[in-house]
């Protein structure tokens, strides 16, 4: 038994417990009606649809969720949450599962999607804002998709749509402190 454990804050053991601790949602409310999946725009492309994710959380199968890219393909559009008759909020459960899975296995997400998020967050850490040019270059380097959309850049530029110089937050140190504070919080939590 861990030293932290007490009656009020038991150390979460199962995946459902961890999701509950992170979100305050109770995945056990799901009765597998499938309404969430019927409305999910990504269901046509994923092996695990939102109701499958809910079931695997309740069956404590992080392995199944980890071995599949489905959870990383959620768009966060919240259609599932709007359709669910039980307020299960599959989108938020999926968010929490991603965070739990990524903590255990940082390379779990598909490379292209990981590359995009990493490049995006890099931009914010560097400038406090998003330089789209920097985002695209960063994404290409990290994803290996070096020539994707290369033809689009001239069209974007002639329309005045790609800012070359990243817009910058003056007190960018303040933004970096927020990143550090959140990372430190993650380690404590």
């Amino acid at each position: 038994m861990s030293a932290h454990e007490d009656a009020h804050h038991p150390v979460p053991r199962t995946l459902a417990d961890k999701v509950r601790a992170a979100t305050g949602l109770n995945p056990a409310r799901c009765y597998q009606c499938g309404k969430c999946s019927a409305g999910c725009p990504m269901a046509a492309e994923t092996t695990l649809r939102p109701h499958d994710v809910m079931r695997l959380v309740n069956q404590d199968r992080p392995d199944r969720l980890m071995d599949d890219e489905s959870i990383w393909l959620c768009l966060g559009c919240e259609t599932c949450a709007a359709r669910c008759p039980n307020e299960c909020e599959p989108a938020r459960v999926t968010d929490a599962v991603r965070e739990i899975v990524a903590a255990a296995r940082p390379d779990a997400a598909p490379r292209a999607i990981r590359a995009f998020h990493a490049a995006f967050l890099d931009q914010i850490r560097k400038h406090g804002r998003l330089g789209e040019m920097g985002l695209i270059m960063g994404y290409k380097l990290r994803s290996g998709h070096l020539f994707a959309d290369a033809a689009a850049a001239p069209g974007m530029m002639s329309r005045g749509k790609l800012a070359f110089v990243a817009d910058k937050v003056e007190d960018v140190e303040d933004v970096r402190r927020i990143f550090a504070g959140c990372a430190a919080h993650g380690e404590e939590g």
Binding site: G24, L73, A91, I113, F116, I124, S143, L162, A163, G181
Partner: protein
């Protein structure tokens, strides 16, 4: 009305025309936009996909800055920023423990007092002013109002309209003298977040939206989200099926629709910056006859 203004990153880049058209209509409608000094990126879907704390703390910094500037309302025209800012405000209000952590991480005064507004609700509430000032009402223009996902969901966060059957954007379009069409896809997701990383998904989702709007007889799709806009506008070529020969569908920001009705020149609204020609729409604003569909694009 004076509000704090959160431009968001895409207003200076891919969606310049959204910012330009917002500023162009703000003045005649009596809205003063006071930019949040030193605002930072809301983190969008990337912070959201990585850490809940970061997804809340990044928008909270800008909310705290707006508060320090003395504001009670903040306008975030980008639907994605709006969703993240309103979502953070909601989560902090609902969860005292989270609020404590966020305050500690921000290390600045923060009472979570600023309400977050989107452009559609602000324009809806100005409907009467728009009607009164519409010198070039867009008679006969059929508009498919596209909400997408970020404006209306989650219901607990957005609240300004009925999440299942919203009507704000249609009200704005009507105030402009144009005609909203009834269609099915207005609340579906366009896949925006995957624009760079998963193009086939974006093409599949966007194509369904374009086809439905066409079936409903729309001349244009109105949006309030830079990501929806660049997906449906910039990616529209990729969405056409092989050998398909349909007139392209102009994708316009709701602020551009209002600007045209107010008689503002299309160039001031950035309408020349689109990938898909907006002629079908701009020709209405100036009271000219519309070109037949076959001649467009």
């Amino acid at each position: 009305m004076k509000v704090a203004y959160f431009p968001g990153c895409s207003m200076h880049g891919t969606s310049r025309e959204y910012g330009e058209s917002l500023h162009a209509v703000a003045e005649p409608l009596g809205v003063e936009l006071d930019e949040v000094r030193d605002w930072n990126c809301c983190g969008a879907s990337s912070a959201h996909a990585s850490s809940r704390m970061l997804a809340v703390a990044l928008p909270a910094r800008s909310l705290a800055l707006a508060e320090a500037q003395g504001h009670e309302q903040l306008l975030a025209p980008c639907a994605a920023c709006y969703n993240r800012l309103a979502g953070a405000r909601h989560e902090i209000a609902e969860d005292a423990e989270l609020a404590g952590h966020v305050k500690r991480i921000l290390a600045r005064p923060f009472e979570n007092r600023v309400a977050v507004l989107n452009a559609v609700e602000v324009l809806r509430d100005l409907g009467e002013t728009i009607k009164a000032k519409a010198t070039s009402p867009l008679k006969g223009l059929k508009v498919a109002c596209y909400y997408g996902c970020l404006l209306v969901r989650p219901a607990a966060v957005t609240r300004f309209d009925d999440p299942e059957d919203p009507s704000s954007m249609e009200a704005v379009v009507k105030a402009c003298g144009a005609e909203p069409v009834a269609w099915r896809m207005r609340l579906e997701c366009c896949g925006g977040g995957f624009s760079l990383s998963r193009k086939p998904s974006v093409v599949r989702l966007g194509r369904a939206i374009l086809e439905d709007a066409r079936k409903a007889g729309a001349d244009a799709i109105a949006v309030a989200c830079p990501m929806c806009h660049s997906n449906l506008d910039f990616r529209q070529k990729a969405m056409a099926r092989d050998g398909e020969d349909k007139p392209p569908m102009p994708i316009v920001f709701i602020t551009q629709v209002v600007g045209l009705a107010l008689g503002i020149a299309p160039e001031k609204l950035g309408m020349q910056r689109h990938f898909v020609s907006t002629k079908r729409v701009t020709s209405r604003g100036n009271g000219e006859a519309t070109a037949p569909a076959a001649e467009v694009g």
